[in-house]
C-alpha cells in the first residue's frame, strides 16, 4: 500500500439511457484516477448482484430518458448506489462518483453561463456559492500509509519486545537456570535483570532506529518534530514494552500464561489505542482502560510531536504515563525475585 491512495477501484454503471450524455458520464467516471468502470449493467439488480459478488464496490444508475429530460430542462436524477460494508472503498467511490457527476453537471452550466456573458468568477459563484476548502494538516493527500504505518509498525514492535522479554525471563525458569542466573548477578535481581535485558534494549533500539530512519528518512513521512525527539520516543517505547513484559511475568510467573497475556494485550492495543477509531468516540470504560496500553501513549506522542511538530512539552502527560510503565518493574522486582527462587517450570 505504498501508493497511499488506491487507484482504479472497480465500479459499475447501470445505463438505462444509452445516449451520448450518459456516455459522457461513464467516460468521466472512467477518467477519474480513483475509479475504473468495470462493466455497464442492464439493471440495478444485476449491478447489486455484482456488488454482492465483490466485483464492484458500488454503481451509478442513469435513468432512461436522462438525455431527453436534460435537454427539456427537467433536471433528471442520477443515483449513486454505495456500500459501506467496506468503509474505505465505500466512501472513496462515493466521493469520486459524486465529483464526476458534478464535473459533468458543472461543465454544462459553466458553458451556458459563459455563453450568456458571465465571468468565470460569477459562473462559479452561481453554481456553488459556498465551497469547503479542506486542508488535511501534514497529510494533504490523505495518504493512508502515513496514517497506518506510523502506529502499526511501533505496535508490532512493542508486541515483539514484550513477548521477547517474557520469554527471556521465563526460559530461565523453564530450563531451571533461574537460581544460577541470580547467583551470577550477586543475588541482586536488579543487576541480574538489568544485565539480561540491556542487550535486548540495545538491539531493539537499533531496530527502532532503523524503522524511524526508514519511515522518516527513506519514505519521507512527515516528521515535523525533528529526529532526536523521535529517537527519544523510540527509546521510551522500547523500555515501556520491556517493562510491560517484566510486569506480566512478575504477576503471572508461568511462561506460557505470561506470553499469552502479553500477546492478548498487544493485539488489543491496536484497537484501543484509537488511531483507527478515535478514543473520544468510545465508551467511557474503554477510554479509561486505554491508559493501561503503552501504545496509546506512544500514538498520542507521535501524533503531537512527530506529525504536528509540537514541542515535547505538549505531550508531557503521555510521556509521564510511559515513564510510569518504565518504573513499574522496580516495584515488582522483589516479587519477581521470590518467584524466581521458588520457581519450578510447570508445563
Amino acid at each position: 500500500m505504498h501508493q497511499g491512495l488506491p487507484h482504479d477501484l472497480p465500479i459499475g454503471v447501470v445505463d438505462l439511457d444509452n445516449s451520448s450524455n450518459s456516455r459522457t458520464i461513464i467516460r468521466t467516471l472512467d477518467a477519474m484516477d480513483l475509479l475504473k468502470v468495470e462493466e455497464v449493467y442492464h439493471s440495478q439488480s444485476e449491478a447489486r448482484d455484482a456488488v454482492q459478488r465483490n466485483k464492484i464496490y458500488g454503481f451509478i444508475s442513469i435513468p432512461s430518458g436522462f438525455s431527453a429530460s436534460l435537454q427539456a430542462f427537467r433536471r433528471p436524477t442520477v443515483t449513486y448506489y454505495t456500500s459501506y460494508a467496506l468503509l474505505v472503498p465505500g466512501s472513496l467511490t462515493y466521493g469520486a462518483m459524486r465529483k464526476a457527476v458534478e464535473l459533468v453537471s458543472g461543465a454544462a452550466v459553466r458553458s451556458q453561463l459563459l455563453a450568456r456573458g458571465a465571468t468565470e468568477n460569477q459562473a462559479l459563484g452561481f453554481i456553488q456559492p459556498i465551497v469547503i476548502e479542506p486542508h488535511a494538516t501534514f497529510n494533504p493527500t490523505l495518504n493512508y500509509s502515513i496514517y497506518l504505518c506510523n502506529t502499526l509498525i511501533p505496535g508490532v514492535m512493542m508486541l515483539l519486545i514484550s513477548l521477547m522479554t517474557v520469554y527471556s525471563i521465563g526460559s530461565e525458569v523453564k530450563f531451571n537456570t533461574a537460581r544460577y542466573w541470580l547467583e551470577k548477578g550477586n543475588h541482586s535481581i536488579l543487576l541480574s535483570l538489568g544485565a539480561k535485558e540491556l542487550p535486548y534494549t540495545l538491539a531493539f533500539f537499533a531496530i527502532g532506529f532503523f524503522c524511524d530512519y526508514y519511515l522518516y528518512g527513506v519514505m519521507k513521512f512527515p516528521s515535523n518534530g525533528g529526529f532526536l525527539p523521535m529517537l527519544f520516543l523510540t527509546l521510551c517505547m522500547v523500555l515501556a514494552a520491556q517493562a510491560l513484559g517484566i510486569i506480566f511475568f512478575s504477576l503471572i510467573p508461568t511462561l506460557r500464561l505470561a506470553l499469552s497475556m502479553s500477546c492478548l494485550w498487544g493485539v488489543v492495543s491496536f484497537s484501543i489505542c484509537g488511531f483507527t477509531f478515535p478514543e473520544i468516540a468510545m465508551n467511557g470504560p474503554v477510554q479509561a482502560l486505554s491508559y493501561l496500553f503503552p501504545l496509546r501513549h506512544y500514538y498520542l506522542i507521535y501524533a503531537s510531536q512527530t506529525l504536528d511538530g509540537n514541542s515535547m512539552i505538549y505531550s508531557w502527560s503521555s510521556y509521564m504515563f510511559l515513564f510510569i510503565f518504565i518504573l513499574l518493574p522496580f516495584i515488582f522486582m522483589m516479587r519477581l525475585k521470590r518467584e524466581l527462587i521458588h520457581s519450578f517450570y510447570i508445563p
Binding site: M1, G125, V156, C263, V268, F275, P278, N283
Partner: protein, 404 residues
Amino acid sequence: MRNTILQGLNELIHICQMELKIIFHDEGVFIFCILVPLGYPLLYSYIYVTELMRDVPVTVIDDSKTALSREFIRNLDASQWIKVVGYSDNIPDARQHIKEQQTYGFFRIPSDFSNRIVKGEQVSVGLYSDMSAMLYYKGMFIGATDVSLDMNKKIKIERAGKATDEDEKMVVSPIKSREVALFNPQQGFASFLIPAILVLVIQQTLLLGIGMAGGTAAEKGEYSELVATSRRNRGTLHIIFGRAFAYFSIYAVQAAFMVCVVPKLFGLTQLSQGLDLMLFLIPYLLSCIFFSMALSILMRNREMSILVFVFTSVPLLFVSGISWPGSAVPPFWKGVSWLFPSTFGINGFVRINTMGATISQVAVEWRALWLQAVAYFVLAYMSCRTIIYRERRKDKTELREPFM
C-alpha cells in the same frame, strides 16, 4: 466388516476424547480455544459499539462576523459530525487548542464571506483538520460539505425566486443526484470491522491452540502415543479425524456464539440467512483446523506458537482486503494472503453477513475454502506420518527415552 467399522469408530472417539481432555486441562490451550473466542468478540464489539465518530470538537475563526457567517457556524454545530466548542481569533490560537488536544480541527470563515455571497461570487471556507486519525477529517469534511450544500440550495432559491426565468433554476444544477447506501448505510465502524475480526479470531485461536498442543506433545515426547495408535489399522486417518472432530465440535459452538449471539447483543448489522452462514462456516472451520494441524508439526515447544502466529493477525486483516481495498493490494501480498483461510473466510463472511449475499454469490470463496480444506488435510496427514516415522526411528535407536 461391521466390526472393523465399529472398531474404527471407537478409535476415533477415543482420540477425540483425548484431544478434548488436552483442550480442557491444558491452561494454555484452554485460554486460546475456549476463553479468547468467547471474550474477544465481546471486548472488540464493546470497543467499537458506538459505531460513529460524532461531534468532532472544533473551533471557528469567524473573520466575517455577519448574520450569514453565524448561520453557517450554527449549522456546523447542528450537524451530527461536528461540535463547535468555541471561537478562535486567529490560526495560531486555533492551533493552540489542537496542541492541547481540546479540539481536532478548525474552520476559517473569510472576512468577505457575506459580501461575496451577496455579490454572487464564490467564497471558500477553510477546513483544517488534525490528521492523527482519518475519522476526524472525514467527520469534519462530511459535516461541512452537507452544511455548505444546504446553504447553497437556500441561497440559490433566494436568487432564483427573484428571477422569473424558468431555466434560471435549471442552470443552477442541471443534474440532480442522490445516494442510496445499499449496505451499512450509517457507515458504522463496528458493523464494518467486527465481522472480519470474528472470522480472524477463529483462525488465529486455532493456530495458537493447536500449535501449542502440538508443541507440548513434541516437548514432552507424547507423540509416542500417536505411534501406538498408528500401529493399528489406518491409524493416521483416525488420528487426524479424531483430533479434527474435537476442535470442530468446540468451534461449531464458538462460531454459533460469534455469528448469532454477539451481533444480537450489540445490535450489529446482520442480513444473512442462517443456512448460508452454516454452509459457509463449515469449510472455513475445516480448513482452519487442518491448516493449524499441518503447521503444528513445526512447533518444537509449547511457547513457540505464540511467538510465531500472533504477528500474523494484524497483517492478515490488511491483506484480506477488508480495510484496504482488495483491488489495491499488491499482487505478491495477494498471493501470500491466499495461503490463509482467513482471507477467503473474511471476504465471504462479510458479504454474507453484511451484504446479504447468498452462498452462490460467494462461490469463489466457498470453493477456495474447500480446496484449502482438502489441501491442508493432505498436509496434516503427511505431517502426522512424518511425526510417527520420526518417533518410530527414535524408539529404535534410543531405546525409549521419552524426555528428549
